[in-house]
Every structure is written in structure tokens, then in C-alpha cells.
């Protein structure tokens, strides 16, 4: 969590490997590897997934083709066989239900003409299919009405397991009513200024981010 401009989205983009961000110092260790040395697609193949704050529209590429390509690239990287379109369809049917989307979305172009809510649900749908070990949800709650928020949260909760981790980036406590966090870290000016349990989010909601301006940053290393 953190106020506007505190670096939450920057952190999310850097973890996913967005080439528009240059890391000038520090390291990110993931599974014993220096994550910063890996290309974004290799990170994804190693189980990192970023749910975009602003999912990208790609006219001319169907969701089915896009997601099957991604799925197969990840399988290939793991030395597994690729799946054909029919197998893939079987596989995604259930995941579509999870986010309350219709099969017809598969033949539509990626995010093109999708409402804000549909785009976010599509992100969670992709996450469900690709089954990452570390998912980063960048402001997935922004622009969502309460029903869409519930669907998204339910999706995230269903996918939660001891084998994976999720970083949820948000600046409202609202989402955390649906997705209960194990830890809350508060970012300010690019540093973690406070860490705690789920009750920290409630405290922030009550006292506002101003409250933290006076709090001395403790051990502010990145997770």
C-alpha cells in the first residue's frame, strides 16, 4: 500500500521487467536467481505474472491465440509438450467460470472493446490459466464496481495456495475486505516505511497516509 507516487506501480513494473524502467541499484532475488538479469518473458516462464493496471488492447490477436501462445511458451520453458487448441479449450473452460466470463471472449481480440471491468477480469483469467508462482496485481481494484471487485477477489482467493504468492498493490483498504492479506507493507517515496499484519491496512484507512509521514522508516528493504 502507499499514497500516489510512492512507487507501488514502479515496483510492480520492475519486478515484471518492463524495459522502460532502469534499475540503478539494488537486487531482486527470486528462487535464488537475480531476477533483474532475466528478460521479462523468462521471468514469466519462471512463474512471475503481472496483472496490469491498464491492460493493453491488441487488435487482431484473439484472446485464445494469445493465451495459448503464452501457455505453450511457459510449458516449453519447463520442457513440457505444447497443447493443441482443443486441449487448451478444455483447460480454460473452468477458468472462465471463475471470473464469470463467456467462452465467446476467447475469439475476441485481446482486450479490444472490453469494459474496464472485463479487462481486469481478463487479467485474473490469464493468471488462472498461467498459474504463476508469484502474481503481482497492480491496482487491479481501480475502476471496478463492487460486483466486479467481488469477482476479481474471488478469483484471486480461489487461486491462492501454499505453492504461490501474490503481491496486491492497492491504495484503498476496500479490496482487502475481499482479499485478506498475510502481510501489509506501506511504501512511501520508494521505500517501505511500515510493515505489519492485515490490521495495518485498517489503521491506515482510519488515520490516512499523513500519519506515516511522521513514522520513522524501519528496516526498509524490499521484500
Amino acid at each position: 500500500m502507499g499514497p500516489n507516487g510512492s512507487g507501488k506501480s514502479t515496483l510492480a513494473q520492475v519486478l515484471a521487467g518492463n524495459p522502460s524502467y532502469q534499475v540503478t541499484q539494488g537486487t531482486v532475488t527470486y528462487d535464488g536467481q537475480n531476477l533483474l538479469e532475466l528478460d521479462p518473458e523468462v521471468r514469466a516462464q519462471n512463474g512471475i505474472f503481472l496483472a496490469f493496471q491498464y491492460p493493453v488492447e491488441i487488435p487482431g490477436v484473439s484472446n485464445a491465440y494469445f493465451l495459448r501462445s503464452a501457455y505453450n511458451e511457459i510449458r516449453k520453458a519447463k520442457g513440457m509438450e505444447e497443447v493443441d487448441p482443443l486441449e487448451f479449450l478444455d483447460l480454460v473452460e473452468e477458468k472462465l467460470k471463475l471470473v464469470d466470463m463467456d467462452e465467446s471472449m476467447l475469439s475476441r481480440s485481446v482486450n479490444q472493446g472490453f469494459s474496464g471491468g472485463e479487462k481486469k477480469r481478463n487479467e485474473i483469467f490469464q493468471m488462472a490459466v498461467l498459474a504463476p508462482r508469484l502474481a503481482i496485481l497492480d491496482e487491479t481494484d481501480s475502476g471496478l464496481d463492487i460486483d466486479a471487485l467481488r469477482i476479481v477477489a474471488q478469483g484471486v482467493n480461489t487461486l491462492r495456495s501454499p505453492e504461490n504468492a501474490t503481491i496486491v498493490v492497492t491504495h484503498y483498504q476496500r479490496l482487502l475486505n475481499y482479499i485478506v492479506p498475510d502481510f501489509v507493507h506501506v511504501l512511501s517515496n520508494g521505500r517501505i516505511v511500515k510493515s505489519g499484519g492485515k490490521e495495518l491496512a485498517l489503521e491506515l484507512e482510519e488515520k490516512g497516509y499523513d500519519w506515516l509521514q511522521n513514522v520513522d522508516a524501519g528496516a526498509g528493504a524490499a521484500a
Partner: protein, 470 residues
């Protein structure tokens, strides 16, 4: 235009006797003189044809090859064509006076990759511009339909092509059309009587094959009487990677309520030169659906010119051009709104890689009488390399006051945000590049109604993008 006088001068000073080809010293000839020499030695035809050819030759000499000072050729220099001495490609010496025999030059198997796997289509094959009955299968198009070789029609007088030939294609204004007219030998003649409907597409395949730098001038005529309907495909191909010149002209007359879907598939050798003009005249309520696909040639120019001459006639002119290496691919369209209430829609897309150069020049001309014109035109280009280039010139000239016309052009590179989105899902840069490029091109292919054609072109586009690196 300034070079007209000098070019004409060549003709008077020509070191040409009337003693035949054997005495001609080619080194002393300018290329235009060489065309004149070849013109004199082509097989004779009926008087009307001789006269039409002579008009074409005279006009070509008067116009000369266009230079980049000519507005229509501003971005394309035809010097590589103008400076070369092409000899007239011939498969049989007798030409128009007898049935050509192409046996041994091109085999049926050579053509498989150009036929879209469609044995049911009516296929006419032309080798070096000359009809090859052995390679063609065009029987059973229907009672009200006649599909023929133009040379045969001229010989036998069937269908009286003289009623339309040279009446639609403006050889008085366009040098290459004039040159083609001077050398009319063969091509396809498709006649649809009133209400005729041809279920299967008619596929005209022009194969250039042989040694040396040869030129062929295919000339096609499609006459669609009222309410008739057909799909015509013109493919320009070569089996080997030869240097040659194709200078093709197709004239299409669309009667009242007629509809023709016209596909031009330009897949010439990457060493070849191609200039192809399709000129159409549309009567009331007629529909033209044109798709131009251009991937071949070292220097290629495709002109699609249509005149909406009757009220409520409509046209869709779509196209896709893909260039790589040092290819130069130019597309020019002219839509003349002469009559009122005519819609015209046009989308051309280009993908340029390597050091290639793409050109789009689209003119929509709305005459004073053409009220309620609805014109939409767009041209979008994707540059895949820093050295690729495109010149785009959408033009609107409106002389009526109650019209709705829009046009626009874009030139862009691959979207880095979309690239990162794909990468972040595990898709590597190379695959993502193919996917995004394909997506850019595919949406104009979506407009193709002929499903089998659409799928084949999609495959062709995909394999082309998959084969080239950045």
C-alpha cells in the same frame, strides 16, 4: 512532361530500317526505340486491333516513361525499367495467329503453390503472357458465361472484344497502359451475360518464366452485364527468381447492378518489375470489391482506378503490401465519384522491413454532380526496421457540396507497450514481433469474403513474417 519532345525525337531519328529484326543493331537503340522495333515485329491481327495497338504505341512514345516530376510517380522512379532493354517474352513464335503451346516450359506441378488448392476454380494459366490451354481448366463456368483467351477471341471474333478493349483503360494518359495497348496479344476475356452468376471464382494465373530479361503485356477484359456476378482473381507469379517485366492491364466493365469481387495477388519474383493497372467503369447500382495483395517484385506498382459512373454504384478498395530487403512496392488508387449517392470505402495497409520502400497514393475525386458521396479512405503503415521507408499520400478532391468524405494515414512502429504485455506473459520478443505484425496485417485480410482466399493469404503473411528477423 518536358521530356516528351526528346523521346519523340528518337522515333524520327530511329536507326531502324523496315528490313526486319535481323538487321537491328540493339546497341544503337534507346529502350523506347527497341519497343518500337518490337512493336513492328509482332504478329498481325485484325484491323481494329492493329489500329488500337498503333494508337497505344504512338501514345507511349509521346508520353515516354514517367519521371518523378510526374505527380503520380513522385515517389517511384521507373528508371530501372526505362533503362533496360526487355525483349518480348514469347512462348510460341506464332503468337496471336495460332494456339500457343507451353508444353515443357511450365508443368502443372509448378503451379500447385499458386492455385490455393482449389481444383474447382476456373483456372486460366498464361505463360509469359500467352494462354496455355494445357495448364488451364475453365470449362463449365455456366451458360451465360464465356471465359476465353483474348487471343482466341480475337482470332475467332467471338464476343467482339473490340467493343470494350481500350475503352476503359486510359492509354491516352498513362504511359504503361499505352505500352501495354501497343502490345496487346493475349490475356483473359471474361463475359458475363445479364443475370449470370458464376459460383466458383475465375482464377487467372500469369506465370513469367524463361531466360533473359523478358517483358510481357497481359491484357484482360472483364465485361459484366447487368446483375451478373463473379469473383475474379489475378495472380502474377514466377517459378524461379528471374528478372523480367510484367506490364499488365485489366479493364472491367460493370453493368447495372453487377457485382465483381476482384483480387489481385502480386507475387512476382523479387528480381522482377511489375506494373499492373486495373481500370473499372461502374454503372448504376454496381458493386466492386477489390483486394490488392502485393508482396513480390523488386519494383512493383499496382494501380486500381475506378469510376463510379452510375448512381448508387459502390466500391471497396482494400489492400495489403509487404516489402522487405530492397523492394519498392507502390500502390495507387483513384476513385472517381461521377454520379451521386455512391459509397466508396478504402483501407490499405503496409508492412515495410529491411531497406524497403512502400508507397500509397490514393485519390478520391468527387465531381460536382456526385452529391451524397460517402467516401472513407485510410492507409496505415508499420515500419519494422529503422531503414524501411514509406510515403503515403491520401488525397481528396471535392467539387460537390453535399458529401461526406474522410481520409487519413498513419505510419508507426511496433507498439512497445503491447510488446511488453506479450513478454510479461512468457512470449519472447521474436514470437511477439511476429504476432503483433501479423495482427496489424490480419485485420485488413478479415475483409476478404472469399474464405479460402482469406485463409491462404493469412498463411502466406504469417510464414513471411515468421521467416524474417529484425
Amino acid at each position: 512532361m518536358s521530356d516528351v519532345a526528346t523521346r519523340k525525337g528518337f522515333r524520327d531519328n530511329a536507326a531502324l530500317g523496315n528490313n526486319g529484326a535481323n538487321s537491328v543493331n540493339t546497341r544503337a537503340l534507346s529502350p523506347i526505340e527497341a519497343y518500337r522495333a518490337n512493336f513492328r515485329h509482332q504478329p498481325a491481327g485484325p484491323e481494329w486491333l492493329q489500329s488500337l495497338r498503333a494508337q497505344g504505341m504512338d501514345r507511349f512514345e509521346a508520353l515516354g516513361f514517367p519521371t518523378t516530376k510526374n505527380e503520380d510517380w513522385h515517389f517511384t522512379s521507373v528508371a530501372p525499367i526505362a533503362e533496360r532493354m526487355f525483349h518480348v517474352a514469347r512462348t510460341s513464335e506464332a503468337g496471336i495467329s495460332s494456339e500457343g503451346s507451353t508444353a515443357g516450359i511450365v508443368a502443372r506441378a509448378d503451379l500447385e503453390r499458386f492455385t490455393f488448392g482449389q481444383p474447382a476454380w476456373h483456372t486460366l494459366v498464361f505463360v509469359n503472357g500467352e494462354f496455355s490451354p494445357d495448364l488451364s481448366s475453365c470449362a463449365g463456368a455456366g451458360e451465360k458465361v464465356r471465359v476465353n483467351s483474348l487471343a482466341k477471341a480475337v482470332r475467332s471474333g467471338i464476343g467482339r472484344p473490340e467493343r470494350h478493349l481500350g475503352k476503359i483503360a486510359a492509354f491516352n494518359r498513362h504511359a504503361f497502359t499505352a505500352l501495354n495497348t501497343a502490345f496487346i496479344q493475349d490475356g483473359a476475356l471474361v463475359e458475363l451475360q445479364a443475370d449470370a452468376v458464376v459460383d466458383q471464382p475465375i482464377h487467372l494465373i500469369f506465370v513469367s518464366e524463361g531466360e533473359g530479361e523478358a517483358v510481357s503485356h497481359p491484357r484482360n477484359l472483364i465485361v459484366a452485364a447487368q446483375n451478373s456476378r463473379a469473383t475474379i482473381i489475378e495472380s502474377y507469379v514466377s517459378i524461379r527468381d528471374n528478372c523480367y517485366f510484367t506490364n499488365a492491364v485489366t479493364e472491367i466493365s460493370l453493368g447495372e447492378g453487377a457485382r465483381v469481387d476482384h483480387y489481385k495477388i502480386q507475387r512476382e519474383s523479387e528480381k522482377a518489375f511489375h506494373v499492373g493497372t486495373t481500370q473499372i467503369r461502374q454503372e448504376r447500382d454496381s458493386q466492386l470489391h477489390s483486394f490488392s495483395f502485393a508482396v513480390g517484385g523488386s519494383l512493383a506498382r499496382t494501380n486500381i482506378y475506378t469510376s463510379l459512373a452510375g448512381a448508387a454504384a459502390s466500391c471497396t478498395l482494400n489492400g495489403l503490401y509487404l516489402a522487405d530487403g530492397v523492394q519498392h512496392i507502390d500502390n495507387q488508387t483513384v476513385i472517381e465519384h461521377i454520379a451521386p449517392n455512391c459509397p466508396s470505402h478504402e483501407v490499405y495497409k503496409g508492412v515495410l522491413d529491411g531497406r524497403s520502400h512502400g508507397v500509397f497514393n490514393g485519390k478520391v475525386y468527387v465531381h460536382p454532380e456526385a452529391q451524397k458521396t460517402d467516401g472513407k479512405q485510410s492507409n496505415n503503415n508499420l515500419l519494422l526496421s529503422p531503414t524501411a521507408r514509406v510515403d503515403t499520400k491520401p488525397q481528396l478532391e471535392i467539387f460537390a457540396d453535399d458529401v461526406k468524405c474522410t481520409h487519413g494515414a498513419t505510419v508507426g512502429r511496433l507498439d512497445e507497450v503491447a510488446m511488453f504485455y506479450l513478454n510479461s506473459r512468457g512470449i519472447g520478443r521474436e514470437t511477439a514481433r511476429i504476432l503483433l505484425t501479423y495482427a496489424f496485417a490480419a485485420d485488413v485480410l478479415e475483409t476478404i469474403e472469399l474464405q479460402s482466399m482469406k485463409e491462404e493469404l493469412e498463411k502466406m503473411v504469417l510464414s513471411r513474417f515468421a521467416g524474417s528477423g529484425t
